[in-house]
Amino acid sequence: MADAKFLKFDTLSLHAGQVPDPHTGARAVPIYQSSSFVFEDADHAASLFNLEQPGHIYSRISNPTVAVLEERLARLEGGVGAVCTASGQAALTLAILTLMGAGGHIVASASIYGGSRNLLTYTLPRLGITTTFVPPRDIDGFRAAIRPETRLVFGEVLGNPGLEVLNLPAVAAIAHEAGVPFLVDSTFCTPYLCRPLEHGADLVMHSVTKWLGGHGIAIGGVVIDGGTFDWEASGKFPTLTEPYAGYHGIDFAEEYGPAAFIMRARAEGLRDFGACMAPTTAFHLLQGVETLPLRMKGHIHNARRVVGFLESDLYDDKGAVAWVTYPELADHPDHRLASTLLPHGAGAVVSFGIKGGRAAGKRFIESLSLFSHLANVGDAKSLVIHPASTTHAQLDAEALAASGVGEDMIRLSIGLEDADDLIDDLRQALRAATKG
């Protein structure tokens, strides 16, 4: 059997979406820091507006630098297209509002980023879009939460910060039985560790700020269309299957086939909501994507070393660690699922509990020197936070419990420093925490 030849992941990380600049020969992706683009002539201008030919008009809708990042991320995930946005939150909002309006309903994993939870719980209901949250391991609960008006099932591959592994194929099957798409936030995994489209997801989103960008220098998001969902067969998505008076009367499924969703997201969502990515941001994030495979190997190596250290402290009678969560651990409830969905590693976030609760946690965090105390994950540098008082502070006790966030939980984002230095820093901070 002849083999189909495609460029491999590492090559795509460096090259996808870009050829050397035809005018200057620039090998790196140039920053096209321009709001708008000159038309060749009146006919060219008209043809761009009439959708007769592709091209850039105005950087809110598309920009050549951003387009390289979009195409690269689409290729790395195996999607038909991508739209980059001002942030991961903008990507989630764009995806939802492309699919539904007032009256729409979402079934979401309860273990998601606190910002996403706020959007779904407090903000979208003001627009008439409501959400039912389901514990990520309650597969039957996802099915039970589906309603006639449900238009989306949403979850994260790795729950934040509880590190539950979502059973992507099982949840995808439930979504598809109901005739709705499955959107997966794969920020914690990047396509290097997991490609959700290969496990049944229809749409993927990322906070590109995190491991994809990888250096904690720029805010950005992306939504990627797998091109797999049959919008017409579902019959529940008039935004994609009926003529849109706001855009040349286009029926996006008829016009663009597998790329219907992503074309509508750009044509309407970027145009009207305007949460576009800046070209310089795209340039910064592209530098990170180029080394994604190398960095993820390093993150996984260090995460495994840190988990090993925390486990040794856990089993030490004098240790300060109360519990450790990482999906590769044999006692993790999703250990087997993780080995299937995340064979190259279960991410670089490690959560653990510290004896002494909130007070000990405060002493621990303030005693660290290499780990930076801030509200981010996925930096090349190691980070630490106390979720209950920061990222998830808006949640009430019940929602905190549903999100798997305890008062004693510490979340580490393991960076690329020498693992021995990280372990030394953790060891001395744990000692300081126990001395109280």
Partner: protein
Amino acid sequence: MDVLVNGAPVYAHTGGRPVDPAGPVTVLLHGAGMDHTVWVHQSRYLAHRGQGVLAVDLPGHGRSGGTALDSIDALADWTAAFLDAVGIGTAVLAGHSMGALTALHAAARHPARVTGLMLLGVAERMPVHPDLLAAARADDPQAAALIAGWGFGPAGHVGGHPAPGLALIPDALRLMGRAGPGVLGVDLAACDAFRAGAASAAAVSCPALVIVGEKDRMSPARAGKALAALIPGASVTAIAGAGHMMMLETPVAVSKAMAAFRH
């Protein structure tokens, strides 16, 4: 536009403009396992330049009903029947790959109906690799992967597509993945079995343009040029950097070449 052809529903995309049956009309014929969306860039371009455009979904493909036709003879005759169904006396036929063989053969079999030919990604004979044919007949997804792998040049494999954010290879895989059971196998077998390319070329009596992709690995540019040499008066436009899926890979160059065709 939806019409009935031989009793089966057929869909044709009109490029965002209504079609005047009395005006000049170009019929766009897609290749194996595809549908009208492969002409997404060309259909609007031509429709806004004085052409009535009918980018059809062939029987058994895309939004059309019926079953896939199993020979180029049948596809050529179906094309004439389609013109009857939409009430169009004569038209320019533009085809890609299997669609190009169909257009060529229709021009030979129904010369009074065809006023011009545009043939993209074509050769006198288009034998299909046995592995590909076997995979397609078995509905093995590897068939679509082989076509996507061979069908795209650097613009598809590396990228840098002029349509912002689109990734051509995954898009082509999804498009072929939507084809019904057996459709790709029937299409490729029809291409493989077609032997009348030279005879049909010699019988063409209308103006013809052959558009070749310089990076086409499925129907190499030299094969397209050789076919053009068999068509009386045919001209050739070569698209730099384009592979077999040239309408998607180099959309603007292909659209301009098609719009410039005089017949």
